[in-house]
């Protein structure tokens, strides 16, 4: 019914802490089409994460409307939101948020536990997702045995597992060095291009933002800039030109 994957109208979010009211989002309207690759930027405290949480159905707006895939999120119950997160949204976090003492494969399988898919296909699907991020051979490694970049790739594989329409990544490269950051951006570009998954990411680094097609600038809970990227960078091509680092990390497939 709706061509836009995300439609936000006059969105406000206020946090109440005793007598203190923090007005984190102050009337935001926004549309993100299917298949977009969008970066959100802005100073610390400007409301980026708050918006991401609402888009990801982890939180509800104080006022205004939010439609995800045509569904009015404001009217949903706790468990209905959980179901939408499970089926339609994948999350990638700055700190990876993998379960310790659990293999990469099982970490990737995690969202499947809460969906009603065919259990016999779990392993197959998780391996496919790990292959998509170029980490199939590390499936039985635990997070502590993986580098930061590899851990983030496991996290991306996890976000992919239920074939979501949307991946949300709040500062996905915040804990990674620049080369690894480019690798991660390469994976996002590839997923966006090949699978048509919409990706919204938050970043503080203009370099990283230029791997996307659209940059939204935040300031004090308002959108101040919203413009397409004239010449998006291509992570894959840049990586190929970069001098090979002596590291056991596989190049992105």
């Amino acid at each position: 019914m709706d061509s836009a994957l995300i439609r936000i109208e006059h969105l406000h979010k206020t946090y109440h802490m005793g007598d203190n009211h923090v007005h984190a989002l102050r009337g935001i309207s926004l549309e993100i089409a299917r298949g977009s690759l969008v970066a959100i930027m802005g100073a610390s405290g400007s409301g980026k994460s708050t918006l991401m949480n609402i888009i990801g159905c982890l939180d509800k707006p104080s006022s205004g409307k939010y439609y995800l895939d045509g569904v009015d999120i404001g009217g949903l119950e706790r468990d209905e939101l959980a179901d939408i997160r499970n089926r339609k949204v994948g999350f990638v976090f700055q700190q990876f948020n993998l379960l310790a003492r659990t293999s990469a494969l099982e970490n990737v399988e995690l969202p499947l536990l809460y969906s009603d898919g065919d259990k016999s296909k779990f392993k197959e699907r998780a391996l496919a997702a790990l292959t998509a991020v170029g980490l199939a051979d590390r499936y039985d490694h635990h997070p502590s045995q993986l580098s930061g970049g590899q851990q983030q790739r496991v996290a991306i594989a996890r976000s992919l597992i239920n074939d979501p329409q949307l991946i949300l990544a709040d500062e996905p490269t915040g804990a990674l060095d620049s080369r690894t950051s480019v690798e991660i951006m390469g994976i996002f570009q590839k997923l966006n291009r090949d699978k048509g998954i919409s990706i919204v990411l938050v970043t503080h680094e203009p370099d990283i933002a230029h791997y996307t097609n659209r940059i939204i600038q935040f300031k004090d809970g308002h959108i101040v800039v919203d413009e397409p990227v004239a010449n998006p960078r291509n992570a894959e091509r840049e990586l190929a030109e970069m001098p090979e680092v002596v590291e056991e990390e596989e190049p992105v497939a």
Partner: protein
């Protein structure tokens, strides 16, 4: 079902991470369940022993003994009052419709001699009915008859222990044994009954006609009254114990010519009633012990609740992540509930093992009869699961209703 299995696996993994902590938490349940199992086994062991005693005496048995009902010092001076006689025994059998059999009984410890062997045993002087009342059977030979009683025949029935000690492998039937120099013909041997639950040998006995026993073996003090007997044993008809007791009482009062104001000069007691009273007492005792023990089960439950609360706090971030990737309220709830129940059940199983060991130890070292029953094991299993659910619910609920964003941000 698959989900439960899944949760079980996650739970086991979570518990393995903190092995020592899980073990210490389970200790409360282990001790609680172990104590309950052991206490219940002591209680049902005591009850079981009472049942055995009834069975070894025979069913529907009523015992009549001479003497006043209040056995307190003053009233027991019934020296010249008429006490129980063989006639009483016969009258009870003939005149009380609810009585099936009745037999007088006079017993005494005596030395028995066969050739160069001698053995001290208990002599039971009885009527032929006694065999039926006590369910004593003849293994070889014949029982004695009413005719033997009438004629004061010197015949004897020997228990296995007596046979073993007097006749080394020899066939005792037809042999002559001597008791106080009086020769007796062995006319039969008794089917062994083994030890009773008090450890008393029930085969160490000789049974003979009451007339013979009194005149030939126990003569002496009671010369003046050949009719007196030590007690009368009665078997009532099935289900008519109380009727029989009432009939016996009024018959004996009449026979003993007691006035309405006089106290009974005899006591009528039903073994079943005595046993039932005793059984009730032990059951109450067992229940008391078990309820004290179950307090420690509750303490164990509180331990589980405590550790689950710690676990929920420690794993807040994990919970947030699970919620973010789609775990619903009931998914998180069941995950932690299953973990608590697993903890409690594991403790319960170890506790059952502990309790069984403890009850074996009690019966071995203290010599008490203990009985671990399947129902008590099942109840313990079920109850520890219940403890897990009860004390695990609050922490699990707390986990399930965490705010996903706050949980994710928790460090």
């Amino acid at each position: 079902m698959n989900k439960v299995f899944q949760s079980m696996r996650i739970a086991f993994r979570a518990l393995r991470v903190n092995k020592l902590r899980s073990a210490l938490t389970m200790l409360g349940i282990i001790i609680g369940v172990g104590a309950v199992i052991a206490m219940v086994s002591v209680g049902s062991g005591a009850t079981d022993r009472i049942h055995q005693q009834i069975a070894s005496i025979g069913s529907n048995v009523i015992i009549i003994q001479p003497g006043s009902q209040n056995t307190g010092g003053v009233k027991s001076g019934n020296g010249n009052a008429q006490t129980l006689t063989e006639e009483d025994a016969r009258a009870i059998q003939d005149e009380c419709p609810s009585v099936m059999y009745s037999s007088p009984l006079q017993q005494n410890q005596q030395q028995v001699v066969y050739q160069s062997n001698n053995w001290g045993t208990r002599i039971y002087g009885v009527a032929p009915e006694y065999m039926t009342i006590r369910d004593i059977r003849i293994e070889e030979g014949q029982p004695f008859t009413a005719e033997d009683v009438k004629s004061t025949n010197k015949v004897a029935l020997l228990g296995k222990t007596v046979v073993d000690n007097l006749f080394a492998g020899e066939d005792p039937i037809g042999k002559i044994i001597r008791i106080r120099k009086v020769p007796f013909t062995v006319i039969g041997t008794l089917v062994p009954k083994g030890q009773n639950s008090n450890g008393q040998d029930q085969d160490d006995m000789i049974i003979m006609p009451i007339s013979t026993a009194k005149k030939k073996v126990m003569g002496g003090g009671r010369q003046n009254n050949w009719q007196q007997v030590g007690q009368i044993m009665v078997q009532a008809r099935d289900g008519r114990n109380q009727n029989a007791m009432d009939e016996i009482e009024s018959l004996l009062r009449q026979r003993h010519r007691l006035q309405a104001t006089d106290d009974n000069d005899f006591q009528v007691r039903s073994l079943e009633e005595m046993a039932a009273a005793q059984e009730q007492a032990t059951q109450i005792m067992g229940l008391l012990l078990a309820s004290i023990a179950s307090v420690s089960l509750i303490v164990g439950g509180i331990g589980i609740m405590n550790i689950m609360l710690v676990s929920v706090t420690e794993r807040t971030k994990e919970i947030g992540l699970r919620q973010a990737v789609g775990a619903k309220t009931r998914d998180i709830l069941s995950q932690f509930l299953v973990e608590a129940v697993t903890l409690a059940l594991l403790g319960g199983c170890l506790g059952i093992a502990m309790g069984v060991l403890a009850s074996l130890g009690i019966s071995y070292f203290a010599g008490w009869n203990t009985l671990v029953s399947l129902p008590s094991i099942l109840a313990a299993f079920f109850f520890s699961a219940l403890v897990g659910v009860f004390f695990g619910y609050y922490p699990a609920r707390k986990a399930a209703f965490l705010d996903p964003i706050e949980a994710l941000r928790y460090e």
